[in-house]
């Protein structure tokens, strides 16, 4: 799973979101590292929908503009769970190695 897909799934796990809200949520979740372009976002959404991990939800008109919401499916929740388990295992392994070298695995942010 790409980091983009992972972050979009994470954003949708909280609640159904429309495109703009997904872009904002992903930027927030990645602490500003990832700003999705429209072309990229829809590529990711198309793939998630085709894989059955996300689906279209309701549509709303906001200030004369169409907003289409997307939500996570049950298999999307399971896919996210599996990815979290995989990443956590990697983090645990890397942390153990760092501790073995006498280095703190987490650096505090300035």
């Amino acid at each position: 799973m790409s980091e983009q897909a992972f972050l979009v799934l994470t954003a949708l796990a909280e609640e159904p979101l429309h495109g703009y809200a997904i872009v904002q949520a992903v930027e927030q979740l990645s602490e500003g590292r990832m700003v999705l372009r429209v072309g990229t976002l829809y590529g990711v959404l198309d793939r998630l929908v085709a894989d059955g991990l996300a689906e279209r939800d309701r549509e709303e008109v906001h200030q004369g503009r169409l907003r289409r919401y997307y939500k996570l499916t049950d298999s999307g929740v399971r896919a996210l769970q599996a990815e979290v388990a995989r990443l956590s295992a990697n983090v645990r392994a890397a942390s153990a190695v760092l501790r073995g070298r006498g280095v703190q695995p987490w650096t505090s942010r300035a």
Binding site: Y20, R37, T40, G43, R65, R67
Partner: protein, 299 residues
């Protein structure tokens, strides 16, 4: 703003969205325009602002992925877009096999030249670029797409570098046009969402092409005829098996080989090989393809 209250910026975004296929735009245009304009509310920006380069590049990427669709990555794709994607990928693959054939021939002719002081000028360091297709083929089958595209670019570099050197436009055209089109097909067809080609089956094809090239390197001059004959055989097999994608791709491939030939024949240049070659390639290009009854298999 015009009389309908549509800003210039919105019109510019809508123009950008025209790179997407119609079927995709019909479904997504309004939603996308809303997203583009969501945080651009400044009047000056609405009048004089433009879509950014990054947005335009991302949109072009999406356009390639939808025009040359891979079925597994999208829902409700028209069969036409899926066939188109499959055919471009197949054409890229066939072109790459031709490149592997030439690379094999280059290995043989260089080894022969190596033992012969008369041909020493034939050996130059840049001829290593001729081996690019072998690297590209292996990289593509193992899913290393960027490497595959870079390696497939090597023969294009050679083509451009040698355009002035070779006095023979005929040979130059026949040899280099496929390399250029192959490179384009690989770049466009094997996008992020395209499936990795079936390695086991293609390995046989790649091995065969390399072996034929190694052998063909000994018999200079017969390579073109051999390629035309093989093209015809594959074309017949594609028809008998009802393989629409392979059939169309081979037809395009034959046209590609035919273009420089036609150019020469019209120009009045007569070559002994040209006529039988042209006949074989025209046969390949115009041979019928069975219309597919269903959509391409989704992998």
């Amino acid at each position: 703003m015009d009389e309908q209250g549509v800003s210039k910026l919105e019109r510019r975004y809508r123009r950008l969205l025209k790179v997407l296929p119609k079927w995709y735009r019909q479904d997504r245009e309004e939603e996308m325009v809303g997203l583009f304009l969501a945080d651009r509310s400044d009047d000056l920006d609405l009048e004089h602002g433009w879509p950014g380069w990054g947005e335009a590049a991302a949109m072009l990427g999406l356009a390639v992925r939808t025009h040359l669709a891979a079925g597994a990555a999208l829902t409700n794709v028209p069969a036409k877009a899926m066939w188109r994607g499959e055919i471009v990928r197949a054409l890229g693959m066939i072109g790459l096999l031709l490149g592997v054939f030439y690379a094999g021939a280059a290995i043989t002719s260089l080894s022969v030249a190596y033992g012969n002081p008369e041909w020493a000028p034939e050996i130059t360091w840049w001829r290593v670029l001729e081996l690019g297709p072998i690297v590209a083929f292996a990289a593509l089958l193992t899913g290393r797409r960027t490497l595959a595209k870079v390696a497939a670019f090597a023969p294009v570099v050679l083509a451009v570098a040698t355009v002035g050197q070779s006095g023979h436009v005929f040979l130059w055209g026949v040899f280099q046009l496929p390399a250029i089109v192959t490179f384009l097909c690989l770049c466009l067809g094997f996008h992020r969402e395209a499936p990795t080609p079936p390695a086991r089956r293609l390995l046989w094809w790649g091995g065969g092409a390399l072996l034929l090239g190694l052998l063909g390197g000994f018999a200079t001059g017969t390579g073109l005829l051999a390629i035309a004959l093989i093209t015809l055989v594959v074309r017949v097999v594609a028809f008998v098996r009802g393989d629409f994608v392979l059939g169309r791709a081979v037809s395009l491939f034959a046209l590609l080989q035919l273009a420089p030939l036609a150019f020469l024949l019209v120009g009045g240049e007569v070559l002994v090989l040209a006529l039988p070659l042209a006949v074989l390639l025209v046969l390949c290009a115009v041979a019928p393809v069975r219309k597919p009854s269903a959509r391409p298999r989704v992998s």
